[in-house]
Each structure stands twice: as C-alpha cells, then as structure tokens.
C-alpha cells in the first residue's frame, strides 16, 4: 500500500477527497494559444516584480530616472526631449511613478490570466510596451545606430507588443500554427518575415557589425555578474572583438533563414525555429547576460524570453489534435498546473 492509498483511506466520507489522483489524463485538452498567453503573463509578472527592486525607487544616476536618461542621448532632438521629460517626472516622483509602473505591469499580468479580461489586458500591454519602448528603451537605439539583435535590438519590449497581437484570443483553431489563429496564415507569415528581416538588417547596419561596439555591449554589462557568467563574458568579448563582423553577418544569415523557414515544410520550419531558439539563447546568455537580471540591475529579461515565445507560437502543429487545442507534438507546456 502506498502513502497515497493510506492518505485516501484515512479521509472520512463526508469530506472525502476527490478520490482520484494528480493524473493529468482526466484534464481537458490544453489550448496552446491560452498556454502561450499565460507564458506571456508570466513574463509580465516577472517584469512587474523586477520593477519593485529598491534601486528603481531611487533618484540619481544609479536610479530609475538615471537609467531612463541614459537612453535619451543620441536620439533626434524631439525624441531626446520627450525621454528627458519622462525621466524628469520619474526623478521628481520616483516612488509614485515606479509604484504606478509596477502596478500597471501587475494589472497586465493578472488581466491576461483571467479569461474575461484577457483582451483589455493584451490591448493595454501593446500600449504599455510601445510606451516603454519609446520612453524606457529610447526606441531600442534605432536612431543611435546601435539596435543590433546582439544587444536586444530593436527593443525586447517590442516583442511583447507583437506577442499580444499574435496571441489575441479567438480565431480558427485548425490553423497550422498558433500565431495564425487570429490574424490568419498569410498575415502571420508576413509579420514573421518582416520581424526576422528587420533583425537581419539591424545585424548589419550602424554599429551592429563593429567588433569594438559588440565587445563594448558585453563589457558594459559584465559588472556585478556571477563568476560563471563573467567567465562566459570574457570569452564572448574576445570572440566579438576578433570576429565581430563575421558573427554579425552570420547572425544576419541565420535571421534570413529563419524568416524563410515559415514557408518551408513543417520539419524544415521546425529545424529553423530550433536554430532561432538556440542562437538567441546563446546571445541571451553570452551577450545580453539575461538582460542584466543576475546583476540585480534589470527591469526586464531583454529579448531572450519573448523571442523564444515568438518562435513557439510559430511552431508547426503537425497533427490535427494539436491544431484543435489538444496536447501538441511541439512545444511542451509542462509547467501548467504547477
């Protein structure tokens, strides 16, 4: 007799347990679109909690307003001034503004969780993400010529907005991949090609292919990192300094291949998606340093997690069960029900 048997045997009849088990077999089939929405909600919740870190409530160059000001320089005058204005508001009311910013992100996360509020929450997340992209990321450094995907360009938060659109509830569940459910197959493929085309271009323009600039990306992040990550950083700094241009070209080629993969047969498309996830996982760890989270200086995990999620919503669903919302042969969502 197992402990579970003992446990069930001791349950008195009036308050008898479900008398079944923890098995997942009896649960309804999983809706992948809903699961991906919840993963997006998790990322928003992580951002909200990161927003509560003590330094975010402080003034000065090491505080939140100082961080915002840092994104202003190098942009055209009117953009520079708008970012400076926002940083000034945060400087004068750091506690009120930061608490509000955290509150909005909690609102988005919890809004996505509840089915009744998922649409307003996703709409709010688009607006908020675009606002953060402008005022909090300086438009991803596009006008500074430094929006390389190695550093998270054109802005990790833009992926949040894109995911909100692609995961908008509803649509036809027999589409070949989740992203096509709401916007349709053709529009989803166009979006995919545009996104990866932009990433390919940004890999090559401006300082994106400059070895010194790429090395500087890593050097600017490695203070305060744990030892094992600092060692990885030293390796990636050396690699980027000596082969930065070649790696930038290679990244552009990968992005083009991933862009075209959406038109390929499912197996080839899956291979290109795996390639995208692996390449961006390497970049997320070795160049972006998880967005600086491990150094205690981050407000979000940069582009790593959203790019992984974006790849998963384009994962070809090869069997009918998966398309109709049953357990898919593709991405595992085992975290559900934790």
């Amino acid at each position: 007799m197992t402990a579970t048997d003992v446990k069930e045997a001791t349950v008195p009849a009036p308050t008898r347990a479900l008398a079944t088990d923890d098995r997942v077999a009896d649960r309804p089939p999983r809706d992948l679109q809903r699961t991906f929405q919840l993963v997006l909600a998790t990322v928003w919740l992580l951002d909200a909690v990161l927003q509560l870190q003590p330094f975010m409530f402080t003034r000065g160059s090491n505080g939140f307003s100082g961080m915002l000001n840092g994104f202003a320089s190098g942009n055209p005058g009117w953009i520079d001034r708008s970012i400076g204005w926002n940083a000034s508001v945060v400087y004068h009311q750091p506690i009120l503004t930061n608490a509000s910013f955290a509150g909005i992100q909690f609102l988005i996360a919890f809004g996505i969780i509840y089915r009744r509020t998922v649409k307003p929450a996703l709409a709010l997340s688009v607006v908020w993400a675009l606002g953060v992209w402008w005022f909090g990321e300086g438009l991803g450094g596009i006008f500074q010529g430094g929006a390389t995907p190695f550093g998270g360009g054109p802005g990790g938060v833009l992926f949040y907005a894109l995911l909100a659109v692609l995961l908008w509830p509803g649509g036809n569940s027999d589409r070949p991949f989740v992203a096509a459910r709401t916007v349709g197959v053709r529009a989803a493929k166009v979006i995919w090609v545009v996104v990866w085309g932009v990433l390919a271009v940004l890999s090559l323009v401006g300082s994106g292919r400059s070895p010194q600039a790429l090395q500087g990306l890593v050097a600017g992040l490695n203070s305060g990192q744990p030892g094992w990550l600092a060692r990885i950083d030293r390796g990636s700094e050396a690699l980027l300094l000596h082969h930065g241009t070649m790696l930038a070209i290679l990244l552009a080629v990968v992005c083009v291949a991933v862009a075209l993969g959406v038109f390929a047969p499912p197996q080839v498309a899956q291979a290109t998606l795996v390639m995208a996830i692996v390449v961006f996982a390497l970049i997320w760890v070795a160049v972006q340093n998880f967005g600086g989270i491990l150094a205690g200086s981050a407000t979000d995990p940069n582009s790593g997690l959203p790019v992984f999620l974006l790849a998963l919503v384009y994962w070809p669903l090869t069997d009918g069960g998966a398309r109709s919302g049953a357990r898919a042969s593709g991405p595992s969502t085992a975290a559900a029900g934790v």
Partner: protein, 221 residues
C-alpha cells in the same frame, strides 16, 4: 533617498496574513477531520512567518538553525510525496513538487542570507557570508512566478493546496453546483471551513506566497 520600507512592510503583512489564514485552515481541518492539505497549511504557515521576518527585520525571531530544520523536514516530506505520487500515477507534475521547491527556496534563503546590496530594512541584509548564485535565485523566482500564473488560470481550483484530494465542498464550489456537504448542510465548523477554505482563496494564498518569495529571491540576485 529612503528605500521603500513601506513595500517591505506590505509584503511582510501579506506574509503574516497568509500564515494566519493557513493556521485557521489547519485548526478547522482538525475540527472537521479533513486531512487533505494539512501539510501545505503547515508549510505555508511557517513560510509566512519566516518570510515576514525577512521582509521586516523587527518581525524576525528564532534561530536560523531551527528554521532550517523546519524547512528541511518539510522539503523531505514534499519530495517523498512527489516521488510516491509519480511512482503511483506515472510521470506527471505532482502538486507536492512546487511545495518542495518553495521549501528548498526557503532553505537557500537561510543558508545564503542576502548580501549588502539588499535593502537595509530587510533582516538578511546585514550578512556578509557566502552569496547564493544569482542564476539559482532567478531560476527559482521564475518557477514560483510561473506557478502563480498557472495556479490562478487553472480550472482545477484549489489544486495548488489540496492536489487531487480536494474536499467534496471544494469540488462543489469549483463546479458551481449544490453539494450535500456544502456550507449550509453541515456542522458550524464545516460551514465555516466551507467559507474560509474556498478554492479560490486557498489558491490566492499560494499565489501571494509565490510572488512574495519570488520577489525576495530576485532581491538576492
């Protein structure tokens, strides 16, 4: 510029509220002879008190070694529960596993008190001992936040607390159906339990605990 001590007090109060809530559940569980969920209630009660002491140093009490023994014992209990569940029902995510993770996180917080980068208003900030690898903190925090989200979204209300052993009134409450064992047809204690231990409320206590602990772990990075 002062650190946001009100934030830590807020989290501290929330943690104490969860501890008090789980103590109430535990007492009601004994009165109504409900064994399901007692281990989670004990675990969350201790976690709530310990976490409150971490957020507000004046509220901390007891020697670290005692807390380590408590959370170590709870960790072993939930690991054994998880293993037995898997052995009995096959490969799946047993609900005890997340509680094992939470107790493991508590142990780590006592083994590796927060470094000087933390806030002065937190009890563990004074330590100058070895620091927990931020990668481990981040991973645990992400697991806990994921658990919070998927618990709130789960159609199986109360699962985070009772697992597959939810009392009949909880099942009836989840289904929105009338139950013969519901709050209206039983003893006062059972009626009270039906109100206090509604599935969404027990899930909420788990979610708040996950977020509070996730926040603390991210502060440790």
């Amino acid at each position: 510029m002062p650190t946001p001590s009100w934030l830590y007090y807020l989290f501290g109060v929330l943690m104490l509220a969860i501890a008090a809530y789980c103590l109430t559940l535990l007492v009601l569980g004994f009165v109504t002879n409900r064994p399901a969920g007692r281990d989670v209630e004990i675990s969350h009660m201790f976690m709530g008190v310990a976490m409150a002491g971490m957020f507000v140093d004046r509220w901390a009490f007891g020697r670290s070694a005692v807390w380590e023994i408590i959370f170590g014992a709870l960790l072993v209990w939930f690991v054994v529960q998880s293993i037995q569940s898997i052995r009995f029902y096959g490969i799946h995510l047993p609900h005890a596993l997340i509680h094992a993770v939470m107790n493991f996180a508590m142990l780590l917080m006592y083994w590796f008190p927060m470094g000087a980068s933390g806030s002065r208003s937190m009890s563990m900030s004074a330590s100058t001992g070895p620091k927990l690898d931020p990668g481990v903190s981040f991973l645990l925090a992400f697991v806990l936040l994921t658990s919070a989200v998927f618990t709130l979204a789960s159609p199986n209300k109360g699962w985070s607390h009772f697992g597959g052993h939810a009392p009949a009134w909880a099942v009836a409450s989840t289904a929105g159906a009338e139950s013969g064992h519901g709050a209206g047809g039983q003893s006062p204690a059972l009626s009270l339990e039906g109100v206090v231990a509604t599935p969404w409320l027990v899930d909420l206590s788990h979610v708040v605990m996950c977020i509070g602990m996730g926040f603390m772990l991210l502060l440790m990075t």
